[in-house]
Each structure stands twice: as structure tokens, then as C-alpha cells.
């Protein structure tokens, strides 16, 4: 069963009761008492709660609510109502789900989703309607490039951001010839082209770009190809089961001894237990690492663990910062959700203390953040440096940039 849209009878009844109560209050009590019960701020959440990405959806949601609870459970002094819709990570249902939240529930803020295809549909509607929207995961470049809008913010990353800094880093290590391998789909191509941009600029040469049909995981033919090409290094992006299989196959093929593996951090996030020995030594870049040694990150991971009994991850951090951004903006306008312009100004100028480090926003409303260099050691992504300080997405094609 998928979670259905939560306009249940109970919700309807409680809303009716509240309306009746408010009516009674107006008739019985003096005006100040009515004002002391301000209307709820409605935060619409479009995230996957079923299917492959369910754990991402839950981590983002729980961390966002945790941030708001830590700040007293209110936004600008008003209580909060969370309206959750299960996106099922299904782009085909995305427009319908977004409409339910914007027109049906008339939410004040919209957040989500995980899947970039869902984000496309969601942002398209949100920028037309002007609903203030915070993208809390999907990394498609275009959300804060061609499709950017004053009311659309992102607290996660662009695919470009997490791959561009790897090029110069690999050159620094003396790897002048690289083969790239990924799935032939939007995210994979965005990541490889960002890597290539940074790598070629630093003087490197991508000798072959291997693209597999998504979601094919039979790598053997390509591993033989790589063995024949003998590059200095391999840059790759796969996720989930594909990531684990690639790491294992690469390890088993013996290539790892002579040709080191580099990747955006998504290859090794949440996959290291399954990959085991095959993950060791892989170097990745990402805007976060669980092992980040800062007091704020330690406090955050401990609090999240205590609240949810689950380990915090990069998705939880993005949810947490979505909550922080809402708190910051609503504080600036003292809870007045009608003051959209002021909310947008406050969000654009926000400087958040995130578990990932200090984070501000670029002109296209994407995070300006440090990209960390991490290496897998003993099943853990250990931070070994900063690949690029305060990296902003170029926002190419965005009218605001």
C-alpha cells in the first residue's frame, strides 16, 4: 500500500472542530486570546516514503522536523502543520502530487523531492504559482540554472558541484589519463561532464567515456576494455546496488591494484557495508561526510541518532538545513507568510551553520559550500581534506545569476 493523500476523516473532523472552537472563542473571549492562537504554518513535503528511496525520504523529513523542534517547534512564532505526500519517486505522479499540495492544501512552503525527475515537475509548477520551494535533495543542475526562480531554493547540491573539484585533485595526484564510466542517464552525464570540465581545465585527458544503458550492471566487458586502455585512473558514478556491484567487480578484476578509482561521494554513501573490502581506498568528493570532525556535526549526528535510532547521513543533513532555512526566514518576517518578498530576501541572504559547515546561497539560490575530499578507510568515508572551499554552482542559464 502506498500512503495516500492524508485528507482523512480525522483531519477533516479536527479541522472542523478547530474552526468551531475558534468560532466559540471569538464569541466568548476577548480578542487578544484569539490572536494568541495564531494559524498554523503549512509546510508541504513531497518525498518518497515507499520504494527504493524511502529511507532517504524519512531521513530528510525527520531531520527537518528535528531542526524545527529544536527551535521550539514553531516557525516565526506560529505552530507548524506538516503535510506529507508520498512522491513514490515517480515523475509521472509528480505534477499531480505537487498540485495537491499547492492548490489542494494551499501550503505556505513546499519542500522535497529526492528524484530529479520529480523535481522538474514540482519546480515547474512552483515557479508559476510562486509557492516558496526548498529542494532538499534532487541534484539536477537545471533546477538552479535554466529553471531557476526567485521563489525556488535548494539546500542540497548540484551534480556539477560534487564532481567538478575532482578533476584538479586527480591531476594533483599525477593521474593525467582517465577513463570515465557511468550509466547513460541524466544524472550520470551531468556528473561526468562536470568532472571532465574541471579535469580538462587542469590539463587532464579523458581517454574514453563509457556509458552503460541504465540500469545495466554487467560491467565485465567494460572492465576488460579499461584493462586494455591502461589509464592512470578511473572516474565513475553509480548508485545503490549498481555502486556495490561496480566496486566489487572492479576489485575482483584486479584493476584496483594498478588503476585507482575516483567518484562523487554517492558511490560510497550507504554502500560500504555491502561493498566490504572492495570499497577500501576509493577517493570521493561530496559536500558532507558523517565523519566530519566539527562540534556541530557531532551534536547533530548524536541528536538524530537519539531521535530516530538511525544513523545520520547526507540526506538527513539536507533535511536539517531545510528546516534551518525555514526557521531563519520565518523569524525574519515574524511569521508573516504573506510577506513573500521579504522571506525570499531573508533566505537568499541566509548564512546557515550546517553540520556540513558554513553554507550560504548563490545568486541562483543553490548552496555555496565546501566540497570535501574523502577516502574510504575501514568501511568509513574519512575526510582527508577540502577539495574546493566555498564552491558555488556557476548557475549557467539562470537569469538571476
Amino acid at each position: 500500500m502506498t500512503k495516500s493523500f492524508p485528507t482523512t476523516r480525522r483531519r477533516f473532523l479536527s479541522a472542523a472542530a478547530r474552526a468551531a472552537g475558534a468560532g466559540a472563542a471569538v464569541s466568548l473571549l476577548p480578542a487578544p486570546f484569539v490572536l494568541a492562537q495564531p494559524a498554523k504554518v503549512k509546510v508541504g513535503i513531497l518525498l518518497p516514503y515507499t520504494g527504493t528511496y524511502a529511507s532517504l525520504g524519512h531521513n530528510i523529513t525527520d531531520a527537518m522536523i528535528m531542526a524545527i523542534e529544536e527551535a521550539g517547534g514553531t516557525l516565526g512564532g506560529r505552530p507548524v502543520e506538516y503535510v506529507k505526500v508520498d512522491s513514490e519517486a515517480d515523475p509521472a505522479k509528480a505534477a499531480n502530487n505537487t498540485n495537491k499540495l499547492i492548490f489542494g492544501e494551499k501550503v505556505d512552503f513546499l519542500t522535497g523531492p529526492v528524484h530529479s525527475g520529480v523535481a522538474m515537475a514540482m519546480v515547474k509548477i512552483a515557479r508559476e504559482e510562486g509557492t516558496i520551494t526548498i529542494v532538499s535533495n534532487a541534484g539536477a543542475n537545471s533546477v538552479t540554472r535554466q529553471m531557476c526562480a526567485p521563489n525556488v531554493f535548494r539546500t542540497s547540491f548540484t551534480n556539477w558541484q560534487n564532481c567538478f573539484p575532482m578533476g584538479p585533485e586527480m591531476m594533483k595526484r599525477g593521474h593525467k589519463k582517465t577513463v570515465s564510466i557511468t550509466w547513460n542517464y541524466a544524472a550520470g552525464q551531468e556528473m561526468i561532464s562536470a568532472f571532465k570540465e574541471g579535469y580538462v581545465k587542469a590539463g587532464g585527458q579523458v581517454v574514453k567515456e563509457i556509458l552503460l544503458p541504465f540500469p545495466n550492471i554487467e560491467f565485465q566487458a567494460h572492465l576488460t576494455e579499461i584493462a586494455g586502455l591502461k589509464p592512470d585512473a578511473v572516474f565513475t558514478f553509480f548508485s545503490g546496488g549498481g555502486a556495490v556491484k561496480f566496486m566489487k567487480d572492479y576489485h575482483a578484476s584486479g584493476l584496483r591494484k594498478s588503476i585507482p578509482l575516483f567518484a562523487p561521494g554517492f558511490l560510497t554513501d550507504g554502500t560500504l557495508e555491502a561493498a566490504g573490502e572492495a570499497g577500501e581506498g576509493i577517493v570521493t568528493t561530496l559536500h558532507y561526510a558523517e565523519s566530519l570532525d566539527t562540534p556541530l556535526n557531532k551534536r547533530f549526528t548524536a541528536a538524530f541518532k537519539q531521535k530516530t535510532k538511525r544513523a545520520a547521513d547526507v540526506f538527513a543533513v539536507q533535511g536539517y538545513d531545510t528546516g534551518q532555512l525555514l526557521i531563519h526566514a520565518m523569524k525574519a518576517v515574524k511569521g508573516d507568510t504573506k510577506a513573500k518578498k521579504e522571506i525570499i530576501t531573508a533566505m537568499a541572504a541566509a548564512k546557515l551553520d550546517s553540520p556540513r559547515g558554513t553554507m550560504t546561497f548563490s545568486k541562483s539560490h543553490n548552496p555555496v559550500q565546501d566540497i570535501y575530499l574523502r577516502e574510504v578507510r575501514k568501511r568509513d568515508n574519512v575526510v582527508i581534506g577540502v577539495a574546493h572551499k566555498a564552491l558555488a554552482d556557476p548557475g549557467t542559464g539562470c537569469g538571476m545569476a
Binding site: M1, A54, I210, N216, E218, E225
Partner: protein, 290 residues
């Protein structure tokens, strides 16, 4: 392409062919002999992989896990056949597609409830955890050779049972003319249940064996479903040899397609299938339609 990489790619092809036959063998039985379009084939594969993961954690040994997992998946197949599939033998294929699609959703949700959505790895048993160097840069994992061996074993056993035993004779007879076999006094219903359960167990076995190289994750069954049908259709319905030859051909087409025409890598296998079906609509080893 030099000789050495040509040889390694041929090895890759054969090895992938073996793996494909193993994955499709259960479907060959169920689709080829019972004529049931079993979309839940991939689910049995997934269940096998998760059973291997789970039992391996409990027992600490993959071989023990497989020994325990096989009867479990046989029983599951039997239950599915008795509770659902058997009502649909006489019905149109569309009903079978609908029912088995529903089974996919149920099994996916069960997987989520029982084992969660994380990606798991199954370690390769220590005895087989080694690699054989092929040339100066690449080596080949021993476990993959082991899979190939297991596949040859399965193919031989299937061939023997179907062509050399009384049970096999009944199965073939039941596939050719069900009513006649019933009239001769055999319970075809029971026979079908047995074949379905065997098919399910075989598919789960493939899932268990390939778990260490594949990793175990949600949705893994859907990946192998279509390629399994391609193998069975190219080989011809009801033919074990056909499925074997089909799997080998697909192994070569896929591997060399990826190397020589990478732009059309996703297409090569299906273009090949279309070509085979244009030439022989009944598949390579299928009986000519009456």
C-alpha cells in the same frame, strides 16, 4: 582489438551466457513447459538473493544458506502455484500477466517489510575468494568460474530429467497435450505444481548463487526479468537446449555489442532478438506452430 583482449572478451561472453542461462532456467521451465507468463520470475530471483543474504548472516556459510534456502523457495513456489497460479492455466495470458504483476508488488513490499531497503553484500565463500591473473592488468575471480560450473551442472541435470526420466516424459507429454495425459490417468495438476515449484526454486537458486557478485538490493528482480524472457524466446518455448544456446548468443551479442557499438549497447540484444524472430518466429529450437 588485440588477440588477448579478444580472448578475454570471449571469456566474458561465455561467462555472462552461463549466468544468463542460470537466471533464465527457472523461466524456461515455467514459461516453456507450463505456458504461464510468470512476471514474478524476477521476484523469485530476488527472494533467493535475500534468502542467501539472510541465511548467510545466520549460519555464516553461503553453502549452508543455499542448502536451507532451496527447500524454502520450493515451498514458496508450491504455495504460490496452489493459491494463485493454478486457477489460470486455462485462462488467457492477460490474466496471468495481471496476477503475476500483482505478485511482484506483493513480494517487493514483503521484501521491504522483512529486510528493509538497504543494499547488502554477500561475501564470497573463503574457499572461492581468489582471482586468476589473465594478463598484466586484469584477473578473473574464481567465484565466476564456480558459477559457470554450477550452471553447467544445472543445464545437464535439467536435460537429463526432462529427456531421460519418466517424470520428464510426463512433463513433456503434459506440455504437448494436457488432456490426453489426464485421460491416461495422470494427475497433470500435481505435475504442474511440481514443475512450477521446481522453476521457482531454480530461479531462487540463481539468485542465491549470484548474490555475492550482484549484491542484494530492492528492485533487483526487475533487472533480470526482461533479459530472461529474451533468452527463453530466442531459444524457443519449451526447449532447454534452446534456452542454453540463446543465453550463450546473448552473452556474446551483449559483450561485443558493448565494445564495438557502445552507442547502441542497450539495443544490440533486442535487435538480435528481433532478427532471430523474423527468421524463425518459433525461436531457434522451438517446435513449429501447428
Amino acid at each position: 582489438m588485440d588477440v588477448s583482449s579478444f580472448l578475454v572478451q570471449s571469456l566474458n561472453s561465455v561467462q555472462y551466457g552461463f549466468l544468463l542461462f542460470l537466471v533464465a532456467s527457472g523461466l524456461t521451465l515455467i514459461f516453456g513447459i507450463l505456458g504461464v507468463i510468470n512476471l514474478a520470475h524476477g521476484s523469485f530471483f530476488m527472494i533467493g538473493a535475500y534468502l542467501a543474504h539472510w541465511l548467510q548472516l545466520k549460519t555464516g556459510n553461503l553453502f549452508v544458506a543455499i542448502a536451507l534456502g532451496l527447500p524454502l523457495s520450493f515451498l514458496l513456489g508450491l504455495a504460490v502455484e496452489r493459491l494463485a497460479i493454478r486457477f489460470l492455466y486455462a485462462r488467457d495470458h492477460l490474466y496471468q500477466v495481471l496476477l503475476t504483476y500483482g505478485l511482484i508488488l506483493i513480494f517487493n513490499e514483503l521484501q521491504r517489510i522483512l529486510w528493509g531497503n538497504d543494499v547488502h553484500g554477500v561475501p564470497i565463500p573463503a574457499v572461492l575468494d581468489a582471482s586468476v591473473p589473465l594478463n598484466e592488468t586484469q584477473s578473473y575471480p574464481v567465484y565466476r568460474f564456480f558459477i559457470s560450473l554450477a550452471c553447467i551442472g544445472v543445464a545437464a541435470a535439467m536435460y537429463f530429467v526432462i529427456h531421460r526420466t519418466k517424470l520428464g516424459m510426463l512433463i513433456r507429454a503434459g506440455a504437448a497435450n494436457r488432456e490426453m495425459v489426464e485421460l491416461l490417468g495422470f494427475r497433470v495438476n500435481r505435475l504442474y505444481a511440481l514443475v512450477f515449484a521446481l522453476g521457482a526454486a531454480l530461479t531462487a537458486f540463481a539468485g542465491m548463487l549470484s548474490a555475492p557478485v550482484n549484491s542484494v538490493y530492492p528492485g533487483m528482480g526487475e533487472h533480470i526479468l526482461i533479459i530472461s524472457f529474451v533468452v527463453v524466446v530466442i531459444g524457443g518455448l519449451g526447449s532447454i537446449q534452446g534456452a542454453f544456446v540463446g543465453a550463450m548468443l546473448i552473452g556474446f551479442v551483449d559483450t561485443f555489442g558493448k565494445v564495438f557499438v557502445p552507442e547502441a549497447a542497450s539495443l544490440s540484444v533486442y535487435a538480435f532478438m528481433a532478427a532471430v524472430l523474423l527468421w524463425r518466429p518459433q525461436g531457434l529450437f522451438g517446435a513449429r506452430p501447428a
